[in-house]
Subunit: 356 residues, 3 copies
C-alpha cells in the first residue's frame, strides 16, 4: 500500500479543526471504532457512539467539543463542528489513487478522438469516433466509449462501463463498474399484436459531480435527452429509463426503477427498491422511503411511503386474508353506524327509565 | 452526424401517408414537439398534445385527418391513421446505423467458428469454439460469445454482453449492453446445512425479434432450456431464471424478477419491479401492474395487481399500525353484526311504541 | 459436445446408490422426465412426479426404494435415499468443463502478480499489481482483476466480472458474468445541500464455496470490510452494500437489495425482490418470503413476510381505496363497541320482557 502517514496536527489542519494532545502523533489510517488500532484515527458520530469510543483502541478521535469532554480517558483529539464531514474529507487523503497517466498500449482509440495528455486510458479500452476525454480523467480497463461520447475532466469511469448513444458527461463524474449509459430506451409501438421498435434518437446528458453506481442502466432518450443534473448521486442496480430528468443533488438508492419521461426535482431522496411509473413529475425536496411505488405525480415537498415493513409470517398470512375481504367492508360507515346505534340505544334506555 | 435529410413527400411515402403543404420541404430529423426546430418533423399523438403542437416550432407534423383540421396555423402535414406507428417507422431512417462490416483486427475468433462475411465483429470481441454468427449481425466491442453459441442474422449484440451456456439466438435479436445470457441458473440442493451446487446442463433459446435490455440476467436451464419465444421484449435489469419459458410478444418492464421454471403466456405485459415465484404458470394476455408479486398461477387473461401506490408518510404510518391490527378484526362479521343489532334495535323501538 | 457416456452401475457407484436392471445400460446424459429419451437418466423427486415418470421415455430413473415400487413398468433404477442430491452430484459428471489451462496470449498480467501454473486466464483478462490467482482457478475472457485482489484455488470467475477494492476471495468461489465486486460503496456526507463523497477504504472478503450470480454489485466497505462468509449463495442482480456481513450458508434470491452495514446471520433464506434497510441485524435461521421489506432488526429465527400476493385489478383498486381509509378506522375498538352495544341491547330486551 502506498499510503503515507500524517501528523495529527496536519490532519487537524486539513479538516479545519483544533488539535488536542500529541501534535506529532503519527496517523497511518482511518478506521472504525471497533477495529481501530493505536496508529489509527476514528470519528465519533454523536453521543450514541460514546461507549464504543471508550472501548476503542484508536490513537486519536475526531469529535465535537461536547463529545471531547465526555471522553476523558482519551488523549488525542481533533475537534470540529461536524465529525462526519471531517471524516468524509479525510477519506480522500487515505484513498489509494490511480496515479498512472497516458494511454495503455492495448487501448483502441479512434484517430478522431481527442484524449487529454494527462488522462489515463486502461488496457483494452475502446474509444470511438469523435470522442473527447478531458484532463485527469481515468478510464479503467475494458470500458467502451462509443462514437460521439464526450467525457469532461477529473472523471472516473470504471471497468466494463459502456457509454454509448453519444452521451455527454461533464466534469468530476464517477461511473462505477459494469454500468451501461446511453443504451437504447425501451420504446415500442404496439400494432397488430406485435411490438414495433422505436429507434432511440436522443442522448444522455450528465452534469458535474454526478455519481452512478455499478450495474446501472441509464438509457438514451427517444427524441430528447435523458438528463442527470449536477450533483445527482445514484446507487447500484438502478434503472433510469429514456427521457427521465433528475434535478440537482437528488439521491437514488439501490434497485430503484424510474420509468420513461419521469421528471424528478432537486434534492430528492429516493429509498431503495422504489419504482416510479412513467410520465410523472416529482417536486423538489421529496423523500420516498424504501420500496415506495409512485403512480401519481407529487406536486409538493414531503415524505411519502408505500412499502410495508415485515410481519411474522403467520400474522402476515392472516392479515392478507383480511386484506382480501377489505374491499367489501364499508369502513367509513362502520363508525357512523356504531355512533348512530349508540344514540338509538341511549334514547331507548332513557325512554325506558322515564317510564319506570 | 451522418444523417441526411428527406423531402416531406419522401417521408409520406415511407409511412404510407398523405402529404399536405410543401412537398419539397426538407426534413433533417424527428423531434419532440417541445424541442423541435423548423427543419424537424413531429408527431401528434392525440388531442391532448394539440396545444403543445400549436406552440411547436416544428416545420412539419404527422397527424390523423382529424388532428390536421384542428391545427389550422400549421402548413406541412403527413396524414396517417396511426401517427405513433408512423413515428416508430421513421425513427429507423434517422437512426445512425453501424455500417462497418468485417472482423476487427483485435477480435479473437476460434478457428472453428463460422462468421458471416457481412457481419461486424468489434474490437476485443471473443468468439469460442463452434460458434455461428449470421449475416448482417453486429457484435460490439468486448462481447464474449462462448463455445457453441449460435447467433442468427440481423442481430445486434452490444458491448460487454456475455453469451454462454451454448445459447441459440435466432434472427433480428437485440441484446443491450452488459447483459448476461446463459449464465448458470441458481440451483442448489440443500443437504446437511450446506448448499450443493447443481451444475446447469440446459441452455437458452431466444426466438426471432426478441429484445433484451441492458444489465439483464437470463440463466441457462438446469436440464431443459430457458426459452424466450418470438417477439418477446424485455427492459433493463430483468432477471429470467433457469427453465423459464416466455410466450410470444410478451413485454417485461425493468427490474422484474421471474423465478425458476415459470411459464408465461403470449401477449402478456408485466409491469416494472414485479416478481413471479417459481414453478407458476401465467396464462396468455395477462397484464400485471407495477410491483406486482405473483405467488399463484394465473389461469385466465386479465389485469392483476398488488403494488400499493404512495401515501403521505404520516398517513402511511397510521395505516401500517392498522394493518398490524387487521388480522384480529373479524371484518366479514362486522357488517352482519351491525345489521343484526340494527334489526334488534328497530324491533325494540317498535315494541316500545306499541306499548305507549 | 465432449461428454462421454456412463454405465448405469458406474452412476450408481458415483451416487452411492443401488443399481437395479441392466447394469451395463449406457447413460449419455441427465434429462427432465418430460424431455428424456431412451439414453437418458432422470430423477423422480417425490410422489407428485410419479405420473410424469410413468409417461417418460427415459431409460433409467433415480428413485427412493418406495418410489421404485410404484414404477412397475420401468426396468432400470438407481435407488438412493435422496434422489435430488444424487441428481445434484450427477450434474457434475455431465457438465462440460473448461479444460484449458495457462495464460492466454492476450491477457495483461502485471509482473508482480502471482498466477498458479494450472490456472486458466482467458483472452483479454487484465490482472493488476500484487494480485494472486490460485491453483485450478478459471478466469474467463475480459475479467478485470484490479490491484491487490487475491483469488484462491478452484474458483470460477466468468466473463466481464470486475473485482476491485483489493478484495480477497478464498477457495471454490464462483462469480458469474458481469458482476462487480469491490466497487465503491454509496457513502456521502450531506453538507450545505450537496453530497460529499466518502472515499471507501475498506475491502471485500469472500469465504470458501461462495457463489455470486450475474450482474450483482458487492461494494467494498467504508472502513471495515464487506464480508460474505463460507457457503453463502447469491442469485442474480443482487445488491450488497458496503460493510454488510452475511453469515455462513445464507441464500439470497434475485433482485434483492441489502443496504449498508446490515448483518445477516447463518442459514438464512431471503426471498427474491426483498430489501433490507441499513444498519439492521438479522438473526440466524431467518427466512424472508418474496418481496419482503425489513425495517427493524430481527432477533429470533422464524419466517417473516410483507409482500402481498396478486389481486384481480378491480378488486385491488377497491382494496386500496379501503386502505386509504383504514388509518382513521379505530379497528381495535369496533369489536369492543359491538360487544358492549350487544350487551346493552340484551339488557334492554330483558328489561322489556320483565315488564310485559
Amino acid at each position: 500500500m502506498n499510503r503515507r502517514s500524517y501528523r495529527l496536527e496536519e490532519i487537524a489542519h486539513l479538516v479545519k479543526g483544533e488539535c488536542f494532545g500529541e501534535k506529532d502523533f503519527q496517523v497511518f489510517n482511518l478506521a472504525s471504532l471497533e477495529q481501530a488500532q493505536n496508529q489509527h484515527i476514528c470519528f465519533v458520530n454523536g453521543d450514541k457512539y460514546l461507549s464504543q469510543a471508550e472501548a476503542s483502541q484508536a490513537g486519536a478521535y475526531i469529535v465535537t467539543a461536547a463529545l471531547k469532554q465526555q471522553l476523558s480517558s482519551k488523549n488525542n483529539f481533533i475537534v470540529v463542528d461536524n465529525p462526519y464531514l471531517a471524516f468524509a474529507t479525510l477519506t480522500h487523503i487515505f484513498e489509494k489513487k490511480i496515479t498512472q497517466r497516458g494511454i495503455s498500449s492495448t487501448a483502441k482509440i479512434h484517430p478522431s478522438a481527442i484524449i487529454a495528455d494527462d488522462a489515463y486510458i486502461g488496457h483494452y479500452v475502446v474509444i470511438g469516433e469523435n470522442c473527447v476525454v478531458g484532463s485527469n480523467t481515468i478510464i479503467q480497463a475494458h470500458a467502451f466509449i462509443d462514437d460521439q461520447v464526450e467525457i469532461g475532466k477529473d472523471c472516473f469511469i470504471d471497468a466494463h462501463v459502456t457509454i454509448t448513444g453519444a452521451a455527454k458527461l461533464k466534469d468530476r463524474i464517477r461511473i462505477h463498474a459494469n454500468t451501461a449509459i446511453g443504451a437504447e430506451g425501451f420504446g415500442f409501438a404496439p400494432y397488430q399484436g406485435k411490438w414495433h421498435r422505436i429507434a432511440q434518437l436522443g442522448s444522455v446528458q450528465i452534469g458535474n459531480d454526478v455519481r452512478v453506481g455499478s450495474n446501472c442502466s441509464i438509457d438514451r432518450g427517444a427524441l430528447d435527452d435523458t438528463i442527470l443534473e449536477d450533483g445527482v448521486i445514484i446507487d447500484n442496480l438502478v434503472q433510469i429509463a429514456h427521457n427521465v430528468q433528475i434535478g440537482q443533488h437528488t439521491a437514488i438508492a439501490a434497485n430503484t426503477a424510474i420509468a420513461g419521461s419521469v421528471r424528478i426535482g432537486k434534492n430528492c431522496i429516493i429509498g431503495g427498491g422504489s419504482a416510479v411509473a412513467g410520465h410523472l413529475n416529482i417536486a423538489d425536496n421529496v423523500t420516498l422511503t424504501g420500496m415506495s411505488m409512485v403512480t401519481k405525480s407529487i406536486s409538493e415537498a414531503g415524505t411519502f411511503s408505500s412499502g410495508i415493513g415485515l410481519f411474522e409470517n403467520s400474522h402476515w398470512k392472516r392479515t392478507v386474508v383480511r386484506l382480501r375481504q377489505l374491499a367489501d367492508v364499508p369502513l367509513t360507515q362502520i363508525t357512523k353506524r356504531l355512533d348512530h346505534m349508540q344514540a338509538q340505544l341511549e334514547s331507548l334506555e332513557s325512554t325506558l327509565k322515564l317510564r319506570k
